[in-house]
C-alpha cells in the first residue's frame, strides 16, 4: 500500500482540499428549500388550496351559510343543474355579446389611434400620456363615473345629445342601451391598453423592413395590412387574449353601472356567479360555475399559446 492512514486526505493536494466540497451542517438543497419555503407556503395556501377546494366543493351540495348541514357528495349534479338552466345560457349569450362588442371596439379604436400616433407631431407624447390615464383608474370608480354621466335626466351624455338635436336616451333602463353603456365605459377604460401594446408592437417592426416595403412600392394601406399588422401579430394576440379574459370576467362595471338590471338582463356570467356565491350562497353550484369559467379561459389561452408558438417557429 502506497498510501496509509486516512483513505482520502494524503492523496490530495492543498488546492484540492481547498476546493473540495465541504459537508456543511446545512446542505445546499436544504438552504434552497428554506429560501423557497415562505413563498411556497403563501402560494400553496393562496392558490393551490382554494383551487383544489373549489373543485372539491363543485361536487358537493353545500352552502357555507349553513356549515352545520353536512355536505353531500352529488357527483356532477351541480354541473348538470347549471348547464340545463336556460337562464344561465342566456347569461353566456349576453356575456359573449358584451365581450365581442367591447373587445372589438377596443381593438378597432386602439389600433387606429396607435397607427395615428406612429407619426411624429408636436405634442404627441403629451397626448399619448393623457390617453393612458383611464387605464389607471379603479374600475368601480369608472363604473360610477359613467353611471352619473349616463344618467338619463341630468347626465352630461344626454345633455350633449340634446345639444346636437337628439332625444335623451334611457341609457341604463333599456337592456340594449345598457349593454352599449357598459361597452362604452369598458372601452373608454381599456382602449388605452390596446393603444399601448399596439404602439409597442408597431415600434418593434425593424425600420429596414419598412424601407424595403417603401422600395417595393407598397402604399401606406398595403404596408400597414401586409407588413405592420402581421409583424405586430404576436404582441397584438397577447393583448387580445388579455382583453378577452379580462372582459369575460368583467364584474365591477356591471355592478356599478347597471347592477345587472333592468331585471337581470345585463347580468354577465361572472355577475351571475357573484350572485350565486355571495347573495344566495349556493356554494356547490357557484364552485361548479367557477370551474366551468376556468375551463373556458384555459381553453382560450391554449389556443393562443399554440398559435404564438407556431408563429415563433415560423419566424425564427
Amino acid at each position: 500500500m502506497a498510501v496509509e492512514g486516512k483513505a482520502d486526505l494524503p492523496a490530495m493536494t492543498a488546492t484540492e482540499r481547498a476546493i473540495r466540497p465541504r459537508r456543511d451542517p446545512l446542505s445546499d438543497r436544504l438552504i434552497l428549500g428554506l429560501f423557497l419555503a415562505p413563498s411556497l407556503v403563501v402560494l400553496l395556501s393562496m392558490v393551490a388550496y382554494p383551487f383544489v377546494s373549489l373543485i372539491y366543493y363543485s361536487f358537493l351540495r353545500f352552502s357555507i351559510l349553513r356549515p352545520q348541514v353536512p355536505a353531500e357528495a352529488v357527483g356532477f349534479e351541480n354541473y348538470a343543474f347549471l348547464l340545463s338552466d336556460p337562464d344561465l345560457w342566456s347569461r353566456f349569450v349576453f356575456t359573449g355579446q358584451f365581450v365581442f362588442l367591447s373587445v372589438g371596439l377596443q381593438f378597432l379604436l386602439g389600433i387606429t389611434i396607435a397607427y395615428i400616433l406612429q407619426r411624429d407631431f408636436r405634442g404627441r407624447d403629451v397626448i399619448f400620456t393623457a390617453l393612458m390615464l383611464p387605464m389607471m383608474l379603479c374600475p368601480i370608480v369608472v363604473g360610477f363615473l359613467w353611471r352619473y354621466m349616463l344618467n338619463s335626466e341630468w347626465g352630461v351624455v344626454n345633455y350633449l345629445l340634446t345639444l346636437v338635436g337628439f332625444a335623451k336616451l334611457d341609457w341604463l333602463g333599456v337592456t340594449q342601451n345598457a349593454l352599449w353603456a357598459v361597452v362604452i365605459a369598458d372601452s373608454w377604460m381599456w382602449t388605452p391598453f390596446v393603444i399601448l401594446l399596439a404602439t409597442a408592437a408597431f415600434r418593434g417592426v425593424p425600420k429596414t423592413i419598412y424601407e424595403a416595403a417603401d422600395i417595393d412600392g407598397a402604399s401606406a394601406a398595403f404596408r400597414f395590412f401586409m407588413v405592420t399588422l402581421p409583424l405586430s401579430a404576436p404582441i397584438l394576440f397577447i393583448a387580445l387574449l388579455l382583453r378577452l379574459i379580462d372582459t369575460f370576467k368583467q364584474y365591477d362595471l356591471f355592478f356599478a353601472l347597471t347592477g345587472g338590471g333592468p331585471g337581470s338582463s345585463t347580468e354577465t356570467v361572472s355577475f351571475a356567479l357573484g350572485k350565486l356565491a355571495f347573495s344566495y350562497f349556493y356554494t356547490g353550484e357557484a364552485s361548479a360555475l367557477a370551474v366551468i369559467l376556468l375551463l373556458i379561459i384555459i381553453g382560450l389561452s391554449l389556443i393562443f399559446v399554440r398559435y404564438l408558438t407556431k408563429l415563433g417557429r415560423q419566424r425564427g
Partner: protein
C-alpha cells in the same frame, strides 16, 4: 433600365456633410460601384437614389425625368440591403412577389415573373419556406430575386455580400456580375471592399469625405490612381510609399542612402516638375529581387532584405529603406545570393507630398 444622372447633390445632417456637391452620370445598363471607407457618404448617396434619404440640394434624374421629389414607391427602384430585410412573416414565394402584389399586378403575371426570378436564382426548392430557416446566402438570393422581379429602373445594392460567409461570397459575387450583364439592369453597388469593386464594376467611383476622389474603370483605378488615397485604397497588398529627393542621376530614397537610377527621359521630366516635395509610390507586385543586374541598370538598388515568406503561392519579401520596411512580391524565379531590389519603373508613380495628387511624370523614361 435607365440612365441615372446625379447633379450637384448635397446631403447634410446638421453640421455634418455626408455628400458634398457630387455629380455623376451612370449609363444605361452600367454597373457602377461606389467604393470608399465607412462614413465616406457612399451609402447616403445610394439612399438618395433610392428615395429613402432626402437631399439638401441637387437633383437626380432617371433618363429625362427629375425624380428628386418622388417617393421610393414611385421611382421603380429596387434595393438589396446590407442586413437581410426579408419579410419574416411571408414565405419565400410571397417575399419575391411582394413588389408585384404591392403594385396590384394581375395574378398570371405575378406567377410568371415569380417563376422566372426563382429560376434565375435557383430558389424553386425553398419557395414554400419561411426566410428564418435559410442560410444567409440563400436569404440574400431571395432579396435579389425580390429586387429584379419587378424589372426595376435602377437596381441598388448596399453591401449585399457583407453578411455572407467568405467562401460563398466569391461565388455570389461572380454570379451577381454575370446576372447583371445578362439582365442588363442599370446597377449601383456600394461596398468598402476594393476587391469586390475591382472584380464587378464597369466603373468604380472612389469616395472620401462625401466627395468623389476618382471615377474610372477598375484598370484605370489600378494603373493611374488620381492621388495617394486612391493609390493606397485600391490594390492588395497596399502600395509602398517612399519619400524621395531629387539627384542628378535619379532619385534618392531612404534618407539619401540609396540612389534609384532613372533613365535620361525621366530625369528630364523630373526637372520640369518644379521645386516640390515628392513621394514615390510602387505596388509590391512591381518590386522584385533580381540577381546580378548590370551596374548601371535603371530602377535597381541594393537594400537589406529583412524577410522572405510565402502566402499560398505568392512569395513576398520585406526590405528596408532608411527606417521604413517595404514589401515586394517575387513574380519571376527566385533570385540567388546578394540580389538587388528592382522597381518596375513603368508602374511607379510620383505624388506631390502637399496635395497628394499624382504627377504626370513617366519614370520609365521614353514617352
Amino acid at each position: 433600365m435607365a440612365r441615372v444622372q446625379i447633379d450637384q447633390l448635397t446631403v447634410r445632417f446638421g453640421d455634418f456633410t455626408a455628400v458634398d456637391d457630387l455629380s455623376l452620370e451612370i449609363e444605361d445598363s452600367e454597373l457602377v460601384v461606389f467604393l470608399g471607407p465607412s462614413g465616406c457618404g457612399k451609402t447616403t448617396m445610394l439612399r438618395c437614389i433610392a428615395g429613402l434619404q432626402a437631399c439638401t440640394a441637387g437633383r437626380i434624374w432617371f433618363d429625362h425625368e427629375d425624380v428628386t421629389e418622388r417617393t421610393s414607391a414611385r421611382r421603380n427602384v429596387a434595393m438589396v440591403f446590407q442586413f437581410v430585410s426579408l419579410y419574416p412573416h411571408l414565405r419565400v414565394a410571397a417575399n419575391i412577389s411582394f413588389p408585384l402584389q404591392a403594385r396590384g399586378a394581375p395574378r398570371a403575371e405575378i406567377e410568371e415573373r415569380l417563376d422566372w426570378a426563382a429560376r434565375i436564382f435557383g430558389l424553386q426548392p425553398v419557395l414554400r419556406r419561411f426566410p428564418a430557416g435559410l442560410p444567409p446566402g440563400v436569404k440574400q438570393k431571395v432579396a435579389l430575386a425580390r429586387a429584379v422581379v419587378r424589372r426595376p429602373t435602377v437596381l441598388l445594392l448596399d453591401e449585399p455580400l457583407s453578411a455572407i460567409d467568405e467562401s460563398f461570397r466569391e461565388e455570389m459575387r461572380w454570379e451577381l456580375g454575370h446576372l447583371q450583364r445578362e439582365l442588363g439592369f442599370t446597377t449601383v453597388y456600394v461596398t468598402h471592399d476594393q476587391r469586390e469593386a475591382m472584380s464587378l464594376a464597369d466603373r468604380v467611383v472612389l469616395m472620401r469625405d462625401g466627395r468623389i476622389v476618382q471615377v474610372g474603370t477598375p484598370s484605370e483605378m489600378f494603373e493611374q490612381p488620381a492621388d495617394e488615397f486612391a493609390a493606397f485604397f485600391i490594390g492588395s497588398p497596399s502600395m509602398n510609399f517612399i519619400e524621395v529627393k531629387r539627384d542628378p542621376a535619379g532619385l534618392r530614397l531612404g534618407g539619401n542612402d540609396v540612389l534609384l537610377k532613372l533613365p535620361a527621359g525621366a530625369r528630364a521630366a523630373l526637372g520640369e516638375v518644379g521645386p516640390r516635395n515628392l513621394r514615390l509610390g510602387i505596388r509590391p507586385q512591381h518590386v522584385a529581387l533580381i540577381s546580378d543586374p548590370a551596374d548601371d541598370a535603371v530602377g535597381t538598388f541594393d537594400a537589406p532584405i529583412l524577410d522572405r515568406y510565402a502566402i499560398g503561392r505568392e512569395r513576398y519579401f520585406d526590405f528596408a529603406l532608411g527606417n521604413d520596411t517595404l514589401l515586394g512580391m517575387q513574380v519571376g524565379p527566385e533570385a540567388g545570393e546578394r540580389p538587388k531590389v528592382a522597381f518596375d519603373l513603368a508602374h511607379a508613380h510620383l505624388f506631390d507630398c502637399e496635395t497628394g495628387r499624382r504627377l504626370p511624370v513617366r519614370l520609365a523614361g521614353a514617352s
